[in-house]
């Protein structure tokens, strides 16, 4: 019987096979990623949203030595935001999806096949590379329109920052940045409105299960 003799032509660790399967895994990971709206949202929209909000809240500039062009805060924040985006696209989602796939038994399913472990991780790295590259592009090409300051003042982040500044910074900063006074009452009111509104939204729109409409 020849059935118990392994296919001699099959070399599971041949470099060509590893490369081919790494690309196949990357393709599969990307396909899965772009069909999972939650993942797309947190990887792409969140960093972009943060850049928009930050750069509208902190609208000042850092003065350099005499003669040098001052650096806009918005400009100053972008590298940090890109780093955050890349970290969330790589470390966070990579570590999270591996743990999730283990928990759901997907790893078990794959481990029963001749898929090499290196190709599995190459697929994860491929996904992280592609998504973080897209993240950087999205952040860089999101120039902040000047009129966005009004929009940003709707979000609670601006008010939280203002409240914490009231606690930690001297009074004169308020004169400079907020046209006199920290507007503590307004900070409290806006944050409380957000608390109530988000509680109500959660109460009425939360579903235990994504299927329930």
């Amino acid at each position: 019987m020849t059935a118990t003799i392994a296919n001699p032509a099959f070399r599971p660790n041949a470099p060509g096979r590893l490369v081919r399967l790494s690309f196949e895994r990357t393709r599969f990971e990307l396909q899965t990623f772009f069909r999972t709206p939650e993942q797309v949202f947190f990887t792409f929209l969140l960093p972009v949203l943060f850049v928009l909000i930050f750069s509208t809240i902190f609208s000042g500039a850092i003065d350099g030595p005499p003669g040098a062009e001052p650096v806009q805060f918005a400009q100053y924040f972008v590298p940090g935001m890109i780093a955050t985006g890349v970290v969330s696209a790589t470390f966070a989602s990579l570590a999270m999806t591996v743990a999730m796939e283990q928990h759901e038994g997907l790893l078990r399913r794959l481990s029963g096949t001749p898929l090499p472990r290196s190709a599995y991780f190459a697929g994860k790295v491929g996904l992280a590379l592609v998504t973080s590259f897209l993240d950087v592009v999205l952040i860089l090409y999101n120039e902040v329109p000047s009129g966005l300051k009004a929009v940003a003042s709707i979000f609670p982040l601006k008010w939280m920052v203002q409240g914490f500044r009231y606690v930690f910074l001297p009074e004169w900063v308020a004169q400079d940045d907020y046209g006199g006074g920290w507007q503590v009452e307004q900070v409290f009111l806006v944050l409380f409105a957000w608390f109530v509104a988000s509680f109500l939204l959660a109460r009425f729109f939360f579903r235990w299960n994504r299927e329930q409409a």
């Binding site: 059935a3 296919n7 078990r108």
Partner: protein, 307 residues
Amino acid sequence: MTAAITATGITKRYGPVEALRGVDLEVAQGEVLALLGPNGAGKTTFVEILEGFRQPTSGSASVLGIDPATGDAAWRARLGIVLQSAGFFEALTPREITAHFASFYPTPLDVDSVVEMVGLKEKRDARCKNLSGGQKRRVDLALGIVGNPELIFLDEPTTGLDPQGRRQIWEVVRNFTALGKTVLLTTHYLDEAEQLADRVGVIIKGRLAEVGTPREIGGRQRAMARVSFSVSPQLQGKTLPEGLAVSTSGGVATLMTAEPGRAVVALTHWAEAQGEDELPGLSVTWPSLEDIYLQMVGASEAEGAME
């Protein structure tokens, strides 16, 4: 003939719990062997040791000539595994997942024929999250066979399926075994074992209580047949022919005999003599595999109580 699977003295201990207490089993190439047993008897643990997912505490195993604990990708390429439950790629379609898994194997089967074979032709492009439990189970089976394995492990392949779905999966398994492939299957359905398996093994409390063909297991061939008939007014209170003793309940008389043919002849003549042309409600039944199985499990439980 070479054995596809050889297990010798396999034990598995989890702390104080002995999940397997010395299992010996040989499965020949091209054979379909079904493992039966109550929940928690050790079926899945045993199969997972053979699949290389778990290490036995002691004992040795050889699957396609290789120790599962050291099996590499080349070995895995010759196996098909359908786990009892495993995660799902919810966002993808049966066709996409099957094609992806096919890419792992050196000589896979044609993806579209596999999807069709498991009965998912209409659903091949539907997202898996929208499939029913039975349809997902078919995807499991597709992933198990797409690599064209020599040996398939099927852990409860039809649990939760409707009767039509079960028959369809049996059909796939039969097509597969017709090609000389080996199948080790666990199941709770006795009819499934009877339909598919060449031999049946019963695992009870971590031991292989018995192995045999579905016809002979548990002394089924030597078992007594049950002959019963309705007690009509003419037959009421009459003395039975010599050598036959019945127990009556609810107007039905039942007797157990190793020679049901003779018993029926004797009873028919006797009934005629009493003025009944025909024995009303006559039936002869042999114990089903299920009866035998339940007897074996029951006997082991009684033993356990005395231990």
